[in-house]
Symmetry: C2
Subunit: 279 residues, 2 copies
């Protein structure tokens, strides 16, 4: 049995969970509530200014557990591919500036008109060969996130933790690993074994939580459930990553229209409380 958590020392709030908060509001709420870590997103960080954001979180004593996100590496068109690589180089630079060691990758869906999942996955590998050494030189690890198979066509052709590891293992573990996110893998009876595989190789670079609730909303993007509201046994999954040797931060990343409509600090407090109760 995995022991219950007793405090927030491993808790990190992903910025998207409370995107109604400005970056200074988020940082202030974290300090007030004793939340030690944040996972940041590129767009709001860019809006605030990357250097300024880095100073803001550093001065507050917060750890930036991840930057979300790079990726979208499946284009066939050479111009689009070059643009995607350039954008990922920028994301790596931003991660380094923010002082996080982990850039999460959402690898991209099928290009318009394509039905070739295998080819798309190979193009991801080709791009990683360019990006991984660049990231390593800046102290940043790439963390491939398997997304739920319902996103396979339009968002991420990497649908299982096993596929993510098949890609990651073509590169050194300190350069490319995986993000383990309960929302995307909870249904998969192979996932526990794949977590063990990832942990043994030192490739669990991020661990994220979200709960599975139904009915799914139109477009299936913004229905991630608050921890404890859904079908996923969070403690069971924490047990798997810890048995695999992972002792790092645990980030809660929810995209949820209902949570976004509420007071952001109240949602952060609720999320912290749920984290201790269920994770």
């Amino acid at each position: 049995m995995t022991e219950p958590l007793t405090d927030l020392s491993r808790f990190s709030i992903n910025q998207m969970t409370v995107k109604q908060l400005t970056l200074p509001e988020l940082v202030s709420a974290c300090v007030d509530l004793g939340v030690p870590g944040v996972g940041l997103w590129r767009e709001p960080v860019q809006q605030y200014g990357v250097e300024a954001a880095a100073k803001l979180v550093r001065d507050a004593g917060l750890t930036v557990t991840t930057l979300c996100r790079g990726g979208f590496l499946t284009a066939i068109d050479p111009v689009e591919r070059a643009e995607a690589l350039g954008d990922n180089h920028a994301a790596i630079d931003e991660a380094a500036t923010l002082g996080t060691d982990t850039l999460v990758l959402v690898c991209g869906g099928l290009p318009a008109g394509s039905k070739d999942l295998h080819g798309a996955r190979e193009r991801i590998a080709d791009a990683l060969a360019v990006l991984a050494p660049y990231a390593a030189e800046r102290g940043v690890r790439l963390a491939i996130e398997a997304l739920h198979p319902m996103y396979a066509s339009d968002r991420c052709v990497v649908s299982t933790l096993g596929q993510a590891l098949d890609l990651a293992e073509r590169f050194p573990a300190e350069q490319v690993g995986v993000t383990v996110d309960t929302y995307h893998i909870w249904w998969d009876d192979q996932a526990a074994a794949q977590i063990a595989r990832a942990g043994a190789a030192g490739r669990i670079h991020s661990f994220q939580l979200a709960d599975w609730t139904t009915p799914l909303p139109e477009g299936v993007l913004n229905g991630r459930g608050q921890i404890g509201d859904g079908a996923i046994d969070m403690r069971e999954w924490r047990g798997y990553v810890e048995a695999a040797g992972y002792t790092g931060p645990i980030e809660v990343e929810l995209f949820n229209d209902g949570l976004w409509a509420r007071d952001g600090k109240e949602v952060l407090a609720e999320t912290a409380e749920r984290f201790v109760r269920y994770a």
Copy 2:
């Protein structure tokens, strides 16, 4: 390369694809358009009368390729479990009356409040042990359908073809096999190997087509794309099942609000045309 189909001899229309048609309208449209097979659903068949429906399709010379659907076998409550078994016995009787050899099973999601996928899958196995011999005595095979992982909590805890086979292989192949449905498995890089496994054991009891289109609608039930409109290479998947030895009917089963809003016979004609062009 899989050879293109040249005619409708292996085509079957699943009744749900054109649910706007009454059963006599469906039968008449199939005869007019040269469609040789139909997959029927219990509710409209019961409404028409099972014996009468059997006579109607038999007199028209149609083959009933499947009856959809039994299943929902994951309840914990003993009364609910007994009701589910009773309902599945009735479904088997109906399949036998209709003269089809295959009852498709949608196995059921998590009971309210449960987070135990493994336990739910074991309860399905327990139920199959009761149902499979009953079905075999009536000349009916059970075909476990893996549903897309986005249905894992509320509809079917069997999310991959591999899981479906793990269940089926506890029973004789002539009693329990699988339904291979492109919509549910197209994202899975293990599925081709699992089709080979299923075929080698004589367990491909049904082959169904639907295409994957996005954005998914709210509730994700009624967004199955017309053949050729989406991300799935139908001919590739037909190649896999044929390489595995399957030569039976190919059923097109679409749940699609847009198709349901149109003239049913026109949709049937379009579906038959798409079948020859893409499958």
